[in-house]
Symmetry: C2
């Protein structure tokens, strides 16, 4: 199967225009898109990124982000917003993109992800609005007053291997990740949530593929919901997710910190910072999600 | 001039379907939209909300928010994202809205604001994606760990009246507002910025109109840029702005707190909390803006 070369920039050493799927990371394979015509991409959404019955919103955003990046003249999502309209299932989907404006340093576009329902009609699952640029042109002065999240080294954090129910007992998506949760935000897993709206983890991909701007779109939605540490259980479906990618991440594990300060009226926000191995704040995101209280 | 009654819900006592503009607040008058046909609204953008040559992004978002609210079946913006494509000038504009999805509790739509250029062609200025609901249905458990911003009472803060250059020396938009800046974040005004990415103020409308969800869309973008307190000068144009309206605000002055933690590569984020007089966190927003360093 031929796939666009642009998917493989992280694989410089192996790059050719006839790379087989076998050389791909799980993330690149499962977010790959095939252009049917300009602005229309087909994709096969993988059950490998499911949490329960639903596919992860970050995985879906990365897939949309890839299609939109192939439609816009700039490669990297600087700011991307998704509204989740209806539950996306694994299997075929089509992404329709539209250029809103092309500029010198930023281009803006919109995209929708559609699946065909049981009645044969297309149903829109997700709508995205984004501005893309080129992170290689983003240089210069850095004045960051934020601090990387304080947490124990990866070896002292909890991974799927530490799950008392077995390493494969968690969500399917967990098998794609190298996720190591800060023990201080793991109380929920043993029935003793801290009550604080915090979740922190080291995060990589299970097959050791290094992070890039597209995988950051997944990383911001990869941790268990802060709602678990606030003592809530059950599904916390995302209504809207906005990600700012601020720098191209260095190779190695990411640190991801999620904070919720306002659970009210059945909604909460999740604020995320993603830090790379070079101690740079590479992404910030916020999502609005529904939360069932009580 | 007849305007849709839906613009006047805050004026219950005066409500009729032939209200004259004279009874309107400046904000309601200047954000009013007239439906030309379903999904198409005309508006006259007012120079009264200018900062220098440009119209304020929050004012424009509120105007777009009103048009989209008349197109969607739900009245209140729960989460709204705007991408600013080109500088909007005062004068006529047309807003084209599209319903993306209609749901029971939330509806999603998109809207674009267009102006006619010198060559007679329409140019898109702003694209918006939003989900609307009904804030009157948002009730129940509130667990907010955030604290209202600590600042002196309004009488001890700086207003336009305290401007040594005269009360009318500031931006045109300042005359529409009752803005009282925390002295701790006013160093920039006397050439002594604190170096911290913080800005705080009490905020009302100059004509004492009480806040509502639409005016919150303006409030999140009404303070001077945090960049001023970080020692930068010049224009900080917004690339993208996302607002979550979390509750209908109580009457009275708002408290608005803006924080920037990451100035890097010519971009910065502004994180905003808006608190109402009943000590509720009524809106959260984040914007990505360009900042010229040095």
């Amino acid at each position: 199967m031929r796939l666009p070369v642009s998917n493989f920039s992280v694989y410089g050493a192996h790059m050719s225009d006839t790379i087989s799927e076998a050389t791909l990371s799980e993330f690149d394979r499962d977010t790959s898109v095939r252009q049917r015509e300009p602005g229309v991409h087909d994709t096969d959404l993988s059950q490998g990124w499911a949490i329960g019955h639903a596919l992860n919103g970050g995985y879906l955003l990365a897939t949309l982000g890839r299609a939109l990046g192939e439609t816009l003249p700039h490669p990297d999502p600087f700011t991307i917003t998704a509204h989740y309209l209806s539950a996306t299932t694994h299997g075929p989907a089509v992404i329709r993109s539209e250029v809103v404006r092309t500029g010198r340093t930023l281009s803006t576009g919109t995209a929708g992800l559609f699946q065909t329902g049981a009645d044969g009609r297309e149903v829109e699952r997700i709508r995205v609005l984004a501005s893309y640029g080129d992170l290689d042109t983003v240089t210069g002065d850095v004045r960051t007053s934020a601090e990387p999240p304080a947490m124990p080294p990866p070896g002292q954090c909890f991974s799927a291997r530490d799950n008392p129910a077995g390493p494969d007992a968690g969500p399917e998506m967990g098998k794609r990740l190298d996720l190591r949760l800060d023990p201080a935000t793991c109380g929920w897993a043993v029935g003793a949530p801290s009550g604080r709206g915090e979740m922190r983890a080291w995060l990589g991909l299970a097959d050791a593929r290094d992070p890039d701007p597209m995988s950051l779109l997944m990383a911001v939605d990869a941790l268990p919901p802060t709602a678990f540490e606030m003592g809530l259980s059950g599904w916390v479906p995302t209504v809207e997710l906005t990600v700012h990618v601020r720098a191209r991440p260095a190779p190695g594990l990411l640190r991801v910190s999620v904070t919720t300060v306002n659970l009210a009226g059945g909604f909460l926000e999740e604020d995320v910072e993603v830090w790379d191995s070079a101690d740079r704040l590479v992404a910030q995101s916020r999502q609005l999600a529904r939360a069932k209280v009580g």
